[in-house]
């Protein structure tokens, strides 16, 4: 996005040379420059993020509404007489028009109130925060392991490009990308729990557990998540660094007689930041959202499990709240990645 704008501003050759000559820049030139200022670009990206979030909230609300099945019928089961169903619908406010319910739901969320669960009348907000912290433990530990590992492996692959270490890494990562995460999960359970018996299953954590106990409980789900995101991040890191290493300024550095380490650290790395950060952010988002499946496989009481349970009983406020949260995590992480790319671009940081 930012690169595109840059070419637009870079195109008017006569205007640029006018500025170069030190002649007073024409009004259009000044406007174009302030349009490309760092603050403006970042503010615009954030505004876009917020707009996206609103659009997502509409989609989620509408989508959940459109789901087949009905809470009242599911809840009452055999006793679902038309009168009883109507009573429950009225009690939950389902007789009001959809736009009205959407607006009051949105208004509540803006004030931090996610509503109450239909099935157990608990506050959805409280449940979400509690469950989310468990999920973030899972995702966070996976990220802490996978990010350094991916960047390290990516660099090794570059260093031994087209030689055996690179090929081995490449084949293993392709295999990992090809397998769905639930399948990897079941494979790990089969091997480590059933055959070797060295790890726990299910990976359920309780309130009273110490951090150490929790960590040993989540070994398998973490291993699954790491396998899934590692390969993608590693491959993207490899290609981003390779791309930079083949550029003319790296050749210049080489012809200055600098050491390989200095070339990578001082000349390649600053230019590889933006693509690598983008990939990491995308994968973090995939990690947080991907926990849903993994949590179900490993019976881990995180937010994914919470949402899946709510879907089975048609507990709409919970499903909508969780959905919105996932969307928000995705949008915010992508926004952070874009802002880092903007900041990493010297042309935007130091305008003419």
């Amino acid at each position: 996005m930012s690169a595109q704008e840059e070419t637009v501003s870079g195109q008017p050759g006569n205007q640029m040379s006018a500025a170069r000559r030190g002649a007073p820049a024409p009004a259009a030139g000044r406007a174009a420059r302030s349009k490309n200022s760092l603050g403006y670009l970042i503010a615009r990206r954030m505004a876009l993020g917020i707009a996206l979030l609103f659009a997502a909230s509409m989609l989620i609300f509408g989508g959940v509404e459109a789901l087949p099945g009905d809470f009242a019928t599911t809840y009452l089961g055999q006793e679902a007489t038309p009168q009883a169903v109507a009573n429950i619908r009225e009690e939950l406010g389902l007789d009001r028009p959809m736009t009205e319910r959407y607006l009051s739901w949105l208004g509540g969320i803006l004030q931090g109130d996610f509503g109450t669960s239909w099935s157990n009348h608990n506050s959805v907000g409280e449940q979400i925060w509690k469950r989310l912290s468990d999920s973030l433990l899972l995702a966070g530990v996976s990220a802490l392991i996978s990010i350094p590992l991916a960047i390290g492996l990516g660099m090794i692959a570059v260093l031994y490009r087209n030689r055996i270490p690179d090929k081995v890494i490449s084949i293993l990562s392709l295999a990992a990308i090809s397998l769905p995460e639930f399948f990897i999960g079941y494979l790990l359970i089969q091997f480590f729990t059933v055959q070797l018996g060295i790890s726990e299953f299910p990976a359920t954590v309780y309130d009273g557990m110490s951090l150490g106990e929790r960590l040993s409980a989540i070994v398998l789900p973490v291993a699954t998540l790491v396998t899934v995101v590692l390969a993608h991040m590693m491959r993207m890191t490899r290609s981003a660094i390779l791309n930079v290493m083949s550029s003319a300024y790296v050749e210049t550095a080489e012809l200055k007689g600098l050491s390989a380490l200095r070339i990578i650290a001082e000349h390649a790395a600053p230019n590889a930041v933006a693509p690598v950060v983008t990939v990491i952010a995308l994968n973090l988002a995939a990690l947080v959202v991907g926990v849903v499946v993994v949590e179900v496989v490993f019976v881990y009481p995180g937010i994914g499990q919470y949402m899946v349970d709510a879907v089975t009983v048609r507990d709409m406020p919970v499903v909508q709240g969780c959905g919105l949260l996932f969307a928000a995590i995705y949008i915010v992480l992508n926004m952070v990645a874009d802002i880092v790319s903007i900041l990493a671009n010297p042309r935007l940081r130091h305008p003419r």
Binding site: R20, G22, A248, L255, K256, G257, L258, P346
Partner: protein, 551 residues
């Protein structure tokens, strides 16, 4: 005393890997020997693929891709650098031998300030302290005529112009006080008016620092200004090697003579004007909120060549896009054969589209690499005339004859052709539509001089045979002299001068045309000094615009 650089029987090969897994060895440079002494400049000249850059890089013990030296010696002050280990090579690069690349814009790291990059080699090799190196950089910025030398190093690469970057790259090479500098086409990517300044700055800096230099270029007129000796290369072999004066004024070899005489082709004065084919009135066009073309009016007579000349960014290619209808103008009209053309391509009839065809600078990107030549040339035949089958093959063969290529090319793919042949196929494709006007957008500037000469001759012959008109976009005054009937000079989106060739190219000139014409290198020793002297005289009198152009 040994020479600064002495190359003996150099042989360089590259291992080419075939898709089927086999590999073969190609000889890039074979049996080349030369000497360069302190304070002297050797020009290496030849077409692309002649091995010029490969030879230059062996002076830094560097090979791109799988290129490696397989024979001979490269003696730097008597020491064979091809025998050095990695550490030894690193101590030569940047410290004793420096390299100036063709595209400074790509060769500078966009993430760091210019000053830091310029002093890096001197400082990292321990030749001087950071502060000493900075002082020397400021001195060199001054010698090279860069604005505000004290603070120039504080800028980032994107904050200065292309000509300034190229001079900064020279400063970067000179900073560590190397014994030898390799200049690899340092002015090829620049406009002529900028090239002359960079050339002068390089020449001045070499004299000032008494460094030895290798100067690589494909332009004999440029190398004539700067070097003491010249070596002509072809297909990796030495053709002729001697003092500059002898090569320019009394070349011994056939090939050198062809290179020297290339700029001397020219056509007789413009023919009498016929009916007007294309008439453009008050045209303004641009992208987003910027006008790239402002108030352009010109008219092109039938059967003639109309050359549009100007520097990069002057709006030449945009003009072609507007005429084809790819970019509808904001205001103004285009009339073809007396009837107005709809501004947008989608509103034009197929017949209107057929009459205007286009040839591009990069023939290989303008063709589908998966189509055979018969399909590339045959496509317009089917599209505009509905020709198919035998008739189509017959017509394609005729067209191949016209562009001096035989029917054996029918089933080849573009990748199997040379650059010149691809451009010929592009011409045949344009010709297949039987157009009345062909827009030629720098069709020869990516080609080697001798090949380009062949293309120009072909275009002139086809014009005589088919009475087609050309709108010929170029930055090269020599081409204008060679083929144009009428000329328009463009500068910053405006036509500053137009008319018959003889009138446009003879005095009195406007300021810009004067600057442009004086900046074109001539194959004459001492031309650079003469022009610079003339310019300085001009500036003393009035010429503020030239000064503004500079910085």
């Amino acid at each position: 005393m040994p020479e600064m650089l002495s190359v003996r029987n150099l042989r360089v090969e590259v291992t080419a890997h075939q898709p089927d897994g086999s590999s073969s060895r190609l000889v890039l440079v074979d049996d080349v020997s030369f000497d360069v002494s302190k304070g002297k400049v050797l020009g290496l000249i030849g077409e692309s693929g002649a091995g010029k850059s490969t030879i230059g890089l062996t002076a830094l013990a560097y090979g791109r891709g799988g290129v490696c030296m397989t024979g001979g010696q490269v003696l730097l002050d008597g020491e064979d650098i091809s025998k050095l280990d990695t550490r030894g090579i690193r101590s030569v690069r940047g410290a004793r031998v420096a390299y100036v690349a063709q595209s400074a814009a790509a060769a500078f790291n966009p993430a760091h300030k210019l000053g830091r990059q310029v002093i890096e080699a001197a400082f990292r090799h321990g030749i001087m302290t950071r502060e000493e190196a900075r002082k020397r950089a400021v001195y060199l910025f001054g010698v090279l005529g860069l604005p505000d030398p004290e603070n120039f190093g504080e800028r980032y690469p994107h904050q200065v112009s292309g000509g300034q970057l190229q001079r900064a790259m020279t400063a970067m090479a000179l900073c560590a006080n190397p014994e030898l500098i390799v200049f690899d086409e340092p002015t090829t990517a620049l406009d002529v008016t900028t090239q002359i300044e960079v050339l002068a700055a390089i020449k001045h800096a070499i004299a000032e620092t008494n460094t030895a230099a290798l100067y690589i270029t494909h332009d004999l007129a440029v190398v004539a200004q700067i070097s003491d000796d010249i070596m002509v290369l072809r297909h990796g072999k030495m053709v002729e090697y001697g003092p500059t004066r002898q090569i320019i004024e009394a070349p011994r070899e056939e090939y050198t003579r062809a290179l020297v005489s290339i700029r001397q082709t020219s056509r007789e004065a413009a023919r009498p004007d016929g009916d007007v084919l294309l008439n453009i009135e008050g045209l303004t066009a641009g992208y987003s909120d910027v006008d790239v073309l402002q108030d352009i009016s010109l008219s092109l007579p039938k059967g003639q060549t109309f050359a549009v000349v100007g520097e990069s960014g002057s709006g030449k290619s945009t003009l072609a896009r507007v005429i084809t209808g790819l970019l509808p103008p904001r205001t103004g009209t285009i009339a073809f054969n007396g009837t107005p053309l709809p501004p947008a391509r989608k509103d034009r009839s197929r017949e209107q589209l057929r009459r205007i065809q286009m040839i591009y600078q990069m023939a290989d990107t303008a063709m589908n690499p998966r189509q055979k030549i018969r399909d590339i040339i045959g496509r317009p035949l089917t599209l505009y005339f509905g020709t198919r089958g035998q008739a189509k093959t017959g017509r394609v063969k005729e067209l191949l004859e016209q562009i001096e290529m035989g029917p054996q090319f029918l089933d080849r793919y573009p990748a199997e052709l040379s650059g010149g042949q691809k451009q010929r196929v592009a011409i045949a494709r344009a010709l297949a539509a039987k157009p009345e006007l062909i827009l030629c957008d720098e069709p020869t500037s990516a080609l080697d001089p001798l090949v380009a000469e062949g293309i120009l001759k072909l275009l002139l012959r086809l014009q005589e045979e088919t009475a087609v008109s050309y709108l010929f976009i170029t930055h090269d005054i020599a081409i204008v002299r060679a083929i144009a009937d009428r000329v328009a000079v463009m500068h910053r989106g405006r036509v500053v001068r137009q008319g018959a060739k003889t009138a446009v190219l003879s005095p009195p000139f406007d300021d810009y045309t004067d600057l442009l014409l004086r900046s074109v290198p001539e194959m004459e020793i001492g031309w650079l000094e003469r022009v610079l002297e003339g310019r300085r005289g001009n500036q003393r009198q009035s010429a503020a615009p030239i000064e503004m152009e500079r910085s």
